[in-house]
Amino acid sequence: MQWYNADLHIHTVLSPCGGLDMSPVNIIGEALAKGLDMIAITDHNSTKHCRLAQEIGRKNGITVLAGAEINTVEEIHCLTFFENIEKADLFQQFIDEQLMVIRNKPEIFGHQYIVDEAENILGEEERLLVASLQAGIDKVAARVKELNGIFIPAHINRPHNGLYSQLGFIPDYLDMDGLEVSRIPGYEEFINGHPEISGYCLVTNSDAHHLEHIGASYTRYLLEKPCFEEIRLALKNKGGRKVSWP
């Protein structure tokens, strides 16, 4: 086994707040330059750039997990990852059924472009992707688990859109594979001050919306090979797989 560096929370130009330079091809180039072995594409309420990112990743020898950062009706952001693009496509159907239909105003929230490998703009998502689903966190987690996915509430120590800011407690009845902690000032005090999270695997990622932030924060995983199933084992601390923070 060996250690792999993974940044599993990256937005593309499809997210309205994602920089125009965040095309899948640029993201993968930047991830390679930063020495990352794995990344995940996690746009707000969309998996629509995952297929392209995985194709480019395969050509360049970097593992790309298909995922999304879901905004639940409680406005809790949750990372979701799927073992293959087919499962991600099924999850996209769930998103399409559940997303509140609010038309994006690009001049306020930013454009939501879908691009190809050569960075041509193929189209634009018209529904505002930072709106929430109508499904609560329980329903979202249940659907992710039905699809054999990984479910990790995002940036739980941030003042907005995290488990603590929105719920105020850890829903310990949910099948959560881990919790994401942002490396913002005070994160160590946060971890020490919340002993109830000590039983969960804590991971950290960049939540990059711009190229330069990719890999600014990442987690190390001890794995047989960099893939979805091995990540799941590491999150559960099984089979000798492990997680550590750089």
Binding site: N71, V73, E74, E75, M100, I102, K105, I108, F109, L128, A131, S132, P159, H160
Partner: protein
């Protein structure tokens, strides 16, 4: 009814948009969930919330609400104030809780046959 009428009647603080208080208020919506406001608030509503972060400015712009009234003595964050000034969004504040201020607001609107 105009924003300035409500300010006068309810003793409200003006954080931003002091020159825009002639704008008409046609209704009100109360919610702290941004997506809910995005889905349900109407143009020219007064939006009542406890949120103070800058995303309220984006939502207020999206929905063209007349003003945002922050309750419980909440003060907009510094970046919220700056963005609201540049986006010409009226931010108001009250020390009262949502229940109380909305009760008074409802009475005002009832008087003007708005509800």
């Amino acid at each position: 009814m105009r924003i300035e009428d409500i300010i006068q009647e309810l003793g409200i603080t003006v954080f931003t948009g002091g020159t825009l208080l002639q704008r008409p208020v046609r209704g009100a919506y109360v919610s702290d969930m941004l997506s809910d406001v995005m889905g349900r608030a109407k143009e020219s509503d007064l939006w009542v919330t406890m949120q103070t972060h800058k995303n309220i400015v984006a939502v207020a712009s999206l929905k063209d609400v007349t003003a945002v009234l922050i309750v419980n003595g909440g003060k907009p964050d510094e970046d919220t104030l700056a963005l609201a000034e540049s986006e010409k969004i009226v931010l108001l504040g009250t020390h009262e809780a949502t229940f109380t201020v909305c009760g008074r607001l409802y009475q005002l609107m009832e008087r003007d046959a708005m509800v």
